[in-house]
């Protein structure tokens, strides 16, 4: 696949914490508009991939490319070597990427609307009116039009997570990272969040990278599922194929344990 059609490319990416290797020379390509779900046992490195892409962690070795450009490193080389990205480089590049967290991480000192408006106004420099109008549209999309003035702490977990989705979308990301977005929710609140995400997937051509234990959701939205174990991809394939007839023993064992 030509590189400019790739949203994300991991080139032999390694991530270590101390002497613990979380990702081990990982190669990974995600096409523009593709929906990819990462599954696997906890500690297998799925979340680390999202956190590396969001620049919340730095790679130990290897290079991450986003939209055909070096992302974890500076575009040029100095003395034939790649230079790790400066904070300024990252600040510009990471705007293409949005993330929804397991624990929502809404700003408790701002109202729902302020949460959604904050970054478009202060990062993208949109006018308050413009950002506010769009924020209301997005909150309407996630079914919370009547909660614009509420405080996040007053909302249920499902509602908070839907606000977090609207907040991420307000930045018009090309790539959206979903990090176990339903894991912190009570079981009866999971569906409302997943419905919103299915809706987002249907209406936009956003590139999705998703870590989840909800196999039904993975089947619905994913073009491709990657099975991870110990920092490596064990198996990958179209959603239905991998879920219905996994080849690898470890995939079968894992799918058996989550069903």
């Amino acid at each position: 696949m030509p590189t400019e059609d790739l949203a994300v490319r991991f080139d032999r990416v390694t991530k270590r914490y101390g002497d613990q290797t979380v990702l081990d020379g990982l190669d990974l390509e995600v096409a523009r508009g593709e929906r990819v779900t990462l599954i696997g046992p906890s500690g297998s490195g799925k979340t680390t991939i999202l956190r590396l892409l969001m620049t919340l962690e730095r790679v130990t070795d290897g290079v991450i490319h986003v939209a055909g450009q070096p992302f974890s490193h500076m575009p040029g080389r100095a003395g034939g070597k790649l230079v790790p990205a400066s904070e300024r480089h990252l600040a510009v590049r990471r705007r293409r990427i949005g993330m929804v967290f397991q624990q929502f991480n809404l700003f408790p000192h701002m109202s729902v609307l302020e949460n959604v408006v904050e970054a478009p106004v202060h990062v993208l420099g949109e006018s308050r009116d413009e950002a506010g109008r769009r924020a209301r549209e997005l909150l309407d999309l996630v079914g919370l039009a009547d909660k614009v003035d509420a405080r996040p702490t007053r909302l249920s977990g499902g509602q908070q997570q839907r606000v977090a989705i609207a907040r991420a979308l307000a930045m018009r990301p090309e790539i959206l990272l979903l990090d176990e977005v339903t894991s912190a929710l009570d079981p009866e609140l999971v569906a409302e969040v997943l419905d919103v995400l299915r809706d987002v997937a249907r209406r936009t051509d956003i590139t999705l990278l998703c870590v989840t234990h909800e196999m039904g959701f993975a089947r619905d939205v994913s073009d491709r599922i990657l099975m991870f174990d110990r920092g490596r991809i064990v198996e990958s394939g179209p959603a239905a194929e991998l879920l219905d007839s996994p080849v690898e023993e470890r995939t079968r064992a894992f799918l058996g344990s989550v069903r």
Binding site: A91, N105, F107, S111, A119, P152, T153, R154, L155
Partner: protein
């Protein structure tokens, strides 16, 4: 006793002047301390090691050398190297440096106590370091700072009688004059202690109000009659409210409806003057 009261009435204008000087030193000292507390507190969390190290050394220096030594040094020793400061300036400077160093620990601790996830969320929204600090971290840290700042402010107020030791005509100085004029030692000192107690109470009440406002901004508990529910008031993160069902919200909408407006008034733009008070 009657003598004392007559004398006291005569001395009232001078006492008022002294009180004003004491209040002035408290306010200026606290303002300087607050400025230093923020500067040193934020610098000591810098990513750059030399910056962090320098801030730590300054803080430890002004914490480790007694306030009294600092004051006397500024008053007696500094003129010997050719700088003579007004006595009141010496006092304000000493108070500001000493309490600023203690305050920087408060700022540092409060900023560190804001959950890391909040910073990560801000990073994910493309916010740079300054914006993150200004819009996300500090507003939440403020709520944690008010209570310890209150203690420091009272300590600072209680240190102001030192002014009289470096010839500043403050409240203590004026009341001491009254004491020697009347010979009523007990009454004079009781009056002085009472006045200080009064000032401490006023400052406490002010800071308590400030703390309630700061907490309310985080947890949406603004004076609501049904404020008994402690939903999400702990921890400060957005994650605690998890289990609240939406029908619960609907049921309370009637009572809670006005609150967003109240918050807006005291909201981020019009942050009630912590800077002014401390």
């Amino acid at each position: 006793m009657a003598d004392f009261l007559t004398e006291l009435r005569r001395a009232l204008p001078r006492l008022a002047e002294g009180l004003l000087v004491t209040v002035e030193a408290t306010v200026l000292g606290a303002a300087l301390a607050l400025l230093l507390a923020y500067t040193l507190g934020l610098l000591s969390r810098s990513a750059r090691r030399p910056v962090r190290g320098a801030a730590r050394v300054v803080v430890e220096f002004f914490r480790g050398t007694s306030l009294y030594v600092q004051l006397f040094w500024l008053f007696f020793a500094l003129p010997m190297v050719g700088f003579r400061l007004e006595p009141l300036a010496c006092a304000v400077l000493a108070l500001g440096l000493n309490f600023g160093a203690y305050g920087s620990e408060v700022v540092r601790g409060a900023v560190a106590a804001v959950p890391r996830a909040q910073t990560e969320a801000a990073v994910a929204l493309g916010m740079g370091p300054v914006l993150r600090l200004r819009r996300v971290v500090l507003p939440q840290a403020h709520a944690l700072m008010v209570a310890p700042f209150k203690n420091l402010l009272i300590q600072l107020l209680k240190a102001t009688p030192l002014l009289s030791l470096v010839t500043v005509p403050d409240l203590t100085f004026q009341i001491d004059q009254l004491r020697s004029a009347t010979g009523s030692t007990a009454a004079s000192y009781l009056l002085l202690l009472g006045l200080y107690f009064g000032m401490a109470v006023v400052l406490s009440l002010l800071m308590n109000a400030l703390e309630r406002a700061a907490k309310a901004r985080l947890s949406d508990q603004v004076g609501s009659g049904s404020g008994g529910r402690r939903r999400g008031s702990r921890g400060g993160g957005g994650s605690q409210g998890g289990a609240m069902a939406s029908d619960d919200n609907a049921a309370r909408r009637g009572a809670g409806r006005r609150e967003p407006d109240m918050i807006r008034k005291t909201g981020p733009e019009a942050r009630p003057g912590q800077e002014r008070t401390v």
